[in-house]
Symmetry: C2
Subunit: 352 residues, 2 copies
C-alpha cells in the first residue's frame, strides 16, 4: 500500500502539503512558520497547497517538537457562583492577552478530582495551574496541595492560589488573595458603630478558608469594641442563596435575638432577605442586613445591599500575570489585595 494521503479523519499532514506543492516538508514548515526566508514563488505554491487541502498543522505535534502554544489551566468549585465567574473571567482574559490557551475544570469541591486534574495538567505541560476560590482548611488537604505545588514546581510549572491563603513556608506556590478578614472586620465595625450588638453570622462552609477569614474579621471587630461575639449567633451552611434562605428562616423560627445579619456572601444575603420579608420583618427597619462580594445584582435587591467590594476580576488577572512573569524560580510571591465596604440601604442605626 502506498502512503495514505490523509488519515481516517480526513486530515492532511505536512507531507501531503509538501507533495502537492512539490517541495519538502521542511519548506512547508518554514513557510508556515514565517520566520524564515523562502522565495516568493515557493511560498505561494505552498500556500496554494495549504488552501487546497485546508491544512492546519497539528498543534500537539508542534508542541512535542518544541513549538507549541503555551497553555494554562484553572480549577474552580462552581463556575455558576458569581465571584468565581468573575475570577475566571480575569484569568481567561489575561491568559488570552499573554497568548495562552485555557484548560478548565470545575470540581464541585471534590478534592480528589482537583488533584487528578492537576496531575493531568502536569502531563499537558501547562505553564501554570490556578486554583480559584477558597479551599478546604483540613491539614490533609493542605498537605496534598503542597505536594502538588512541589510536583508542579519541579517540572517547571507553577501552582497558583487565587483567592485562598498560602500554604506552609517553603511551598513553591504563587498566591494572590484578598483581605477576607480586613473586609469583614471593616463591615462588622461599621455595624457595631451603628449600635448593633447582636450580629448574626450567616452561611458559609465551616471548613472553608474564605468563611474562616470572614469569621475572623467578625470576631476581631467585636473584640475591638470590647465584646465577645455570642457563639449561638454563628449559623454556618454553605455559600448559596438557598442556604441563606433556610438558615435565616430557622434563626427566626428559633427566636434567636439579633438586630443585624452579616451574610458571608451576597448570595446568602439574597436568600436571607427573602426569608426576612417572608417573616414580615423589614430591612433595615427591624433588622440590618449586609453581605460580602458586591456582585452586580446586589443593588437591585430591595433595599440595595450594604456589602464588601472585592476586586475579583483583578485577582484573576494578577494570578496569571504573576505566575507567567516570575523571573526567578521558586520565589513564592504573595499578593494581598484590599477590599472596601460599600454602604447602601440595607443597614441602619440600631434603635433598640
Amino acid at each position: 500500500m502506498t502512503r495514505k494521503t490523509a488519515d481516517v479523519q480526513g486530515r492532511h499532514t505536512i507531507r501531503d502539503v509538501a507533495a502537492r506543492a512539490g517541495v519538502s516538508a521542511s519548506t512547508v514548515s518554514r513557510v508556515l512558520g514565517g520566520e524564515y526566508p523562502v522565495s516568493a514563488a515557493t511560498r505561494s505554491r505552498v500556500m496554494r497547497a495549504v488552501d487546497a487541502l485546508d491544512y492546519v498543522a497539528d498543534a500537539r505535534a508542534k508542541a512535542v517538537a518544541g513549538a507549541g502554544t503555551p497553555t494554562l489551566a484553572f480549577v474552580l468549585d462552581d463556575i455558576t457562583g458569581p465571584s468565581f465567574a468573575q475570577m475566571a473571567q480575569g484569568v481567561e482574559r489575561e491568559a488570552r492577552k499573554m497568548g495562552h490557551l485555557c484548560l478548565v475544570c470545575s470540581t464541585d469541591g471534590d478534592a480528589d478530582e482537583q488533584l487528578a486534574f492537576t496531575e493531568m495538567m502536569r502531563a499537558q505541560r501547562a505553564a501554570a495551574v490556578i486554583l480559584v476560590g477558597g479551599a478546604h482548611s483540613t491539614p490533609s488537604y493542605e498537605e496534598r496541595t503542597a505536594r502538588t505545588a512541589h510536583a508542579l514546581h519541579s517540572s517547571g510549572s507553577r501552582l497558583v492560589l487565587c483567592g485562598r491563603p498560602p500554604l506552609a513556608e517553603k511551598v513553591p506556590a504563587t498566591v494572590i488573595e484578598y483581605d477576607n478578614e480586613g473586609g469583614a472586620h471593616a463591615l462588622c465595625a461599621y455595624l457595631l458603630g451603628q449600635g448593633h450588638r447582636r450580629i448574626l453570622l450567616l452561611g458559609g462552609a465551616p471548613d472553608n478558608t474564605t468563611l474562616q477569614g470572614r469569621e475572623r474579621g467578625y470576631t476581631s471587630a467585636h473584640r475591638a469594641v470590647g465584646i465577645e461575639p455570642d457563639p449561638a449567633l454563628r449559623l454556618p451552611g454553605d455559600f448559596t442563596r438557598d442556604s441563606g434562605h433556610r438558615l435565616m428562616r430557622q434563626a427566626i423560627e428559633r427566636g434567636l435575638e439579633f438586630s443585624a445579619v452579616f451574610a458571608t456572601t451576597d448570595m446568602v444575603a439574597a436568600g436571607a432577605l427573602t426569608a426576612l420579608h417572608e417573616a414580615g420583618l423589614s430591612v433595615p427597619g427591624d433588622v440590618s442586613l449586609a453581605g460580602y462580594d458586591d456582585i452586580a445584582f446586589t443593588r437591585d435587591l430591595h433595599p440595595p445591599l450594604t456589602t464588601v467590594h472585592v476586586p475579583y476580576e483583578e485577582l484573576g488577572r494578577l494570578a496569571v500575570r504573576t505566575a507567567l512573569n516570575r523571573d526567578a524560580d521558586g520565589g513564592a510571591e504573595h499578593l494581598l489585595l484590599g477590599t472596601h465596604v460599600v454602604v447602601r440601604e440595607s443597614t441602619a442605626r440600631f434603635t433598640g
Copy 2:
C-alpha cells in the same frame, strides 16, 4: 556530550525512567498503560523509578502517538452572565463524564476572536467546538460560521451550536437550542390574558438571535389576540442589569405609556425593577414586570419575578453528549428544548 537525563525544565522522559529501572522504554510504556502483561518484578522496578523521578508522561507526545486524552472546546461571550455560566457548567460536567478535557475561550462577543479560536481548536484536534449562547444574526457572520462548520467537519471534528439557531440547510453542525419564541409567546400571552395591552419590550442586543426569538414570541402573542404591538414600546439595549436600569428610567422619563414590562432577561428585569422603584412605581401594583431565564436570585427580588424557565444546564450537557455520540457523520442533529413560564408575584391583572 552524553544524553541528558532531564530537560531544562527538570522534566524526565520515558527513557530516563527506563534507564533507571534497567528496562526498555516500551516496557515502561506498557507498565504505565496497564493493559499489557508485565511481570510483577519489572512492574515494581519501573514504578519505583517513576516515583523516584516523579515522572509524568507527556500528554502531547501521547496524543501524537495516537493515545491522547480527547479534548473539546467551548466558546462564550461572557462567563459572567448567569445563563452562560449554567450552560458552561453543563458542558464542563458532561465533558468530564465523557473523559474529555475542556478548553475555553470567552470572546466578549468579538466574532474575529471566535473564529481565530476555533481555528486553534482545529489545530488542537478538539473533538468538537461548542459555541455557547446567542449569535449575531448578520449574514456575514452566519456565512463565516458556516465555513467554520465545514472546516471542522472535514477534519473529523464538529461544530455545535448551543442556544442559538441552526445555520443554512446543508451546514454540518449540531444544534441544541431552546424555544426562545415559544417561551416569550407563552409569557406575553399570560400578560395579555391578565388584561395588559401595552407591554414594554426591554433590553437585548438588536442583532442577537436570542433577542430576536424572544421578540418574535412577543409579537406573535399580541397577534394571537388580534393586536399589533406598538413599535414605540420596543427598547433594545443589551442584556445587562445596567441596560435594564437605564432603559427603564428613560421610558419613565419619556412618559411612555405601558402597564407591563417584558424584560428580555432576568438581569435586565433586575435593573428595571430598581428603576421602577426609584420612580416611586410599585410592582405589580402600578406596573407588572416579567423576565426571562429564571436565574437563581430571581426569587429574591422584591417582588419575586415572573419569568420563563430555561433548562440551561441540560442544554450544555446535551450539546456535548450529542456531539460526541453521533454515529454517522454529517447528520445535522437539531434539538429544540422546551421552556415554561414561572408565575411569581411581579405580575398582576391589569386594573387600568
